[in-house]
């Protein structure tokens, strides 16, 4: 597989002028201030920015977990901003895979069951075992989260996210709670998914090093996109270090 890829120009997400205001008691917090953003099919995007820059909010809105205060978000031909709760649920169920900073595994379910939790409701899933094999955890299927290391837990979370064969994979600080070595393993798993399955992938991070493995890097600050960089050379996850 080549290390550079041409960006296909079919837009998966098109966000226009999205703003998000949180009312925290007496103060209004502007998490997003009129963001325009497009994500293209199959690309690997890193959203880079410091804490409070609005990147999680943006990701949540793209993933249908949250709705913007103003602006519109299109997913393919659908306007997400017009979706009601049931439609958003359907959208998340059919199209989106999430990976969270703190894994959010169900502690009372084994690795395989955590993955099965999703494959059971997805329309075209792979088998939980295959998904776990993809993240090199085929031999730990029957372990409970408490019996797995942080990196392993995060890889279970990735297996869980990709087992439904989502159209987009949204990762919120997937290595935030991990050391470098394990972080690299996790990023490698994400990169593989992106390449092998062609899943449009967006990773949020405040770690600039991770940006090197992206096709495009979107910089956020203060709720606005400050710049968008295209990487001419995409780094292998395994080459990263921080």
């Amino acid at each position: 597989m080549s290390s550079t890829r041409s960006t296909q120009l079919e837009s998966v997400f098109a966000a226009r002028k999205i703003t998000k205001v949180y009312h925290m008691g007496e103060v209004d917090v502007h998490a997003l201030r009129g963001v325009d953003l497009d994500l293209y099919r199959g690309e690997f995007v890193v959203l880079l920015g410091p804490s409070g820059s609005g990147k999680s909010t943006l990701l949540n809105i793209l993933g249908g977990l949250d709705t913007p205060t103003a602006g519109s978000v299109h997913y393919l031909d659908n306007e997400l901003t017009n979706f009601d709760d049931a439609e958003l649920t359907r959208y998340r169920r059919d199209h989106v895979g999430f990976v969270f900073q703190f894994y959010n595994l169900i502690p009372s379910l084994t690795a395989r069951e955590n993955v099965a939790l999703i494959t059971e409701i997805a329309s075209n899933p792979m088998s939980p075992s295959d998904a776990l094999a993809m993240v090199d955890l085929g031999d730990r299927e029957d372990h409970f989260p408490a019996q797995l290391s942080g990196g392993e837990q995060q890889r279970v979370a990735i297996a869980r996210a990709v087992a439904k064969q989502p159209d987009v994979l949204l990762c919120d600080e997937p290595t935030g709670a991990l050391d470098v070595e394990t972080g690299v393993l996790v990023l490698d798993a994400i990169q593989k998914i992106n390449r092998n399955l062609g899943t449009t992938t967006a990773v949020i991070t405040h770690n600039a090093v991770i940006a090197e493995m992206a096709d495009r890097v979107i910089h956020l600050s203060g709720g606005e996109i400050t710049s968008v960089d295209k990487n001419s050379q995409v780094c292998e996850a395994s080459e990263l270090t921080w």
Binding site: L65, D85, R92, N104, E113, L117, K164
Partner: protein, 787 residues
């Protein structure tokens, strides 16, 4: 099984202690519900079937003597379906093996046909042969109590002459399901029995040939019993009619109905309390779980589980707990049902009394427990349902802490830091703290309620047998006697002191309200009969006017000082306005008392008596019995000790059983609530406590923080619980304020003490269990976990 369901099961297993505690509380509520509902059903069904098959009459009347032709006129009253005229008399009985005389109620049976009404069920032996005057059928209760068999015989004083009666059969009658001596409240089957004899023989013995002194009537469907009673009263009045009454006032029926009503009330109140507590516990526990699983909920939603699937997931958890409660409560209730049925079989005499647990009772039990649990859990589950996934990703904001009341009062530095932490915790979560206090207090309240009935009954027994009935023995005469009879009694062997009494049958009216009540005439300064006012103080009989049961005054809606109309149903049958001079505290039936002389004036009669109360030398009791047997005008003898004994063997036993059941259940609630509170406290604070351990606090010190909190909550809850218990007992007393039985609101200190002790003990045990968990706290694991 889907992974989500697997999660449900594992979550349930993880919280098994708490879930079990809640399931037990639900189970107890359901057991009590199933118990009372199934008994209610079984009792009602048995009663109805028995009444129908054996043609239990709708209206009853007694009179002195009427010719048979009156029967034909009674039959012509519109609405009358069937009618049976008969002879009913009281006789003194001598039973082999029974030193004291017994009282028999002899009811005539037509010689040549089955009676039209109140047909008997023959348990053993055969029916009476026509024209035999020495054969009797005897009630089952009496034969059982006295060990009598078919073929045995009894000696009866029939109209003054001793006669040997042969028992040819053992029978049951729908009229005597609860077989008690007229005027008594508790059965004494050894000393009171019903006998059935051929009408012809009885009529000859009592000079009632071609006449009758008792009538039973059944009504056509839709006929008005009030109208028939009115017409019947007019017809029997010239023949010494004692006032007719409907089935609802027939004593056996009233007792059975009273039991049904008590079951109905108990089936509502106690299960409601239990299910209410269970709902509350579910709310607390589920809220906690949902808070702990915020991020799991977020993940589920993020991956496309709908809000209702998430809600359904937690609802399943609740339903599993309910199912667990039902699986324990329904068989438990059915088992208790069997036990209580056996108890009923001793108390009520039905041909067959089968306990039946119907599907609808089970179904309703399931539905109400699900409804209660769902209602309790709903708030918590709705929080899970509505939790926005993006928000759920973020941990809950920390609670804001500030200075406590103590600190605001500048007393903070007098308090050690550990105490200060406990106080802050309690004060910062006022709602949680008060709910915990409330839940534990309910446990104490239930123990008070479960136990106070015994206090109440003890009080009744003490009041009834020590304060009110101060005599040892009483006799009733077959007819009115001159007050000189008292001298005759006084001179009998062993009689140390005696007083005359006079009972008069009346119907009391106030506006449209009326009741048949006997007025008991008591000597002005009676030493053998004490009367108590509402507050339990002994009061003396006023020279004029009536002292009536408080319940009677309530029913007639009259106040002290007002007058009521009294229709005397015997003698010259005057109808007079009489003033209510006061109300009495009594616990069974309705009664009215009057000064003996005033009663005589009212009756316009010379001094007469129809009863005597006596103090008796216990050593000469048997001699006295022998003497009384030979006195033809004595139709009944009551020995107070027998009433007490009979109470202790029947009702006392039953009360103890019910008390044990209640107490057991109350303990379940106490442990359930306290244990749950302690577990939740532990789960909420394990991180904080682990942190304290890491920075150098000892196990003892952190235990003190957690257990100190529990101790304070328990100590706050106990007085509140005792007060709640008192209120709840008051509520129970007011719903059980029935015409037949009433319970005084008496809660002994021992009951309060026991409630407090059980709650403290439960608290201690729960504390120790939690303490053990605290000792095993995995510091690293707790601190690594995010919550």
């Amino acid at each position: 099984m889907s992974s989500l369901d697997r999660k449900t099961l594992r979550d349930l297993w993880h919280m098994k202690g708490q879930a079990l505690a809640i399931a037990m509380v639900i189970g107890c509520g359901i057991a009590l519900f199933v118990l009372s509902r199934s008994l209610l059903y079984s009792l009602t069904l048995t009663q109805t079937t028995y009444y129908q098959r054996h043609h239990f009459a709708d209206i009853f009347a007694s009179l002195v003597r009427a010719p048979d032709s009156l029967g034909e006129r009674i039959a012509e009253i519109p609405g009358v379906e069937r009618l049976e005229t008969r002879i009913v008399v009281s006789v003194n009985l001598t039973v082999e093996g029974l030193p004291e005389p017994a009282m028999g109620r002899v009811v005539s049976l037509p010689d040549t046909r089955k009676p039209a009404l109140n047909q008997l069920f023959l348990r053993q032996g055969r029916w009476l042969r026509p024209r035999r005057d020495d054969e009797v059928l005897v009630s089952e209760a009496f034969t059982l109590a006295n060990n009598l068999q078919v073929g045995d015989s009894l000696l009866a004083v029939i109209n003054g002459r001793q006669k040997r009666l042969h028992i040819v059969g053992i029978a049951l009658s729908p009229e005597y399901i609860y077989e008690i001596k007229p005027g008594d409240i508790l059965p004494d089957n050894r000393h009171f029995g019903v006998l059935w004899m051929n009408q012809e023989a009885l009529s000859i013995a009592y000079n009632l040939e071609g006449a009758f002194n008792d009538v039973a009537i059944s009504l056509l469907r839709g006929a008005s019993s009030t109208e028939v009673i009115q017409r019947l009263d007019e017809l029997i009045k010239p023949y010494g009619g004692l006032g007719s009454y409907a089935r609802k006032d027939q004593s056996s029926h009233m007792f059975v109905d009273n039991e049904i009503e008590q079951n109905r009330q108990m089936g509502l109140i106690m299960p409601s309390v239990f299910l209410g507590v269970a709902a509350f516990l579910l709310n607390v526990v589920l809220s906690r779980i949902i808070n702990l699983q915020r991020e799991q909920i977020a993940a589920l939603k993020a991956f496309g589980y709908s809000r209702w699937e998430v809600g359904g997931h937690y609802m399943k958890l609740v339903l599993l707990i309910v199912a667990c409660g039902l699986s324990f409560g329904i068989p438990c209730g059915a088992w208790f049902g069997q036990v209580v049925t056996e108890m009923y079989a001793k108390l009520f005499h039905f041909p067959t009394f089968t306990y039946r647990l119907t599907y609808d009772v089970v179904l309703i039990a399931a539905l109400i427990s699900i409804a209660a649990a769902a209602l309790g859990a709903l708030g918590a589950i709705m929080r899970a349902v509505t939790l926005p996934p993006a928000e759920a990703m973020r941990p809950e904001p920390p609670t804001s802490y500030g200075p406590t009341v103590l600190e605001r009062l500048r007393l903070g530095h007098f308090v050690p830091p550990v105490v200060s932490m406990i106080l802050r915790q309690l004060e910062r979560h006022p709602i949680k703290t008060s709910l915990s206090v409330l839940a534990i207090s309910l446990a104490a309240a239930i123990i008070v309620v479960g136990n106070f009935m015994e206090d109440s009954v003890d009080y009744i027994i003490d009041a009834q047998f020590r304060l009110v009935q101060r005599y040892d023995m009483s006799i009733v005469t077959a007819d009115l006697r001159s007050d000189r009879a008292i001298y005759e009694v006084a001179s009998m062997p062993g009689v140390m002191y005696c007083e005359p009494t006079r009972a008069v049958s009346t119907r009391m009216r106030a506006g449209p309200r009326h009741r048949r009540v006997g007025i008991q005439g008591v000597q002005a300064d009676s030493k053998l009969y004490g009367l108590m006012d509402i507050d339990g103080n002994t009061i003396s009989l006023p020279p004029d006017g009536l002292l009536v049961s408080r319940k009677l005054a309530d029913i007639l809606e009259v106040e002290v000082g007002e007058t009521i109309q009294v229709e005397v149903l015997e003698g010259k049958r005057p109808t007079i306005q009489v003033k209510i001079a006061g109300t009495l505290q009594d616990f069974t039936g309705l009664s009215a008392y009057m000064n003996l002389e005033a009663l005589g004036r009212m009756m316009r009669e010379s001094p007469v008596v129809n009863g005597v109360h006596m103090m008796v030398d216990p050593l000469m009791q048997d001699e006295l019995y022998g003497e009384l047997r030979t006195v033809p005008w004595v139709s009944g003898v009551t020995v107070k000790q027998h009433a007490i004994d009979s109470f202790e063997t029947t009702v006392g036993e039953n009360m103890m059983l019910m008390k044990r059941i209640n107490l057991l259940f109350a303990c379940v609630i106490a442990v359930g609530v306290v244990y749950n509170s302690a577990r939740i406290s532990l789960s909420e604070r394990s991180r904080e406590l682990a942190t304290l351990r890491v920075i150098g606090f000892t196990k003892g010190e952190i235990s003190a923080i957690l257990l100190g909190e529990l101790a304070i909550i328990t100590l706050l809850a106990i007085p509140l619980g005792l007060w709640f218990g008192y209120l709840l007992a008051g509520m129970l007393v007011s719903v059980l304020d029935l015409e037949m039985f009433r319970f005084p609101l008496v809660v002994e200190r021992t009951t309060f003490g026991m409630a407090a002790a059980i709650v403290m003990l439960s608290s201690l045990v729960s504390g120790l269990i939690v303490r053990r968990r605290l000792d095993q706290l995995d510091l690293i694991a707790v601190l690594k976990s995010r919550e």
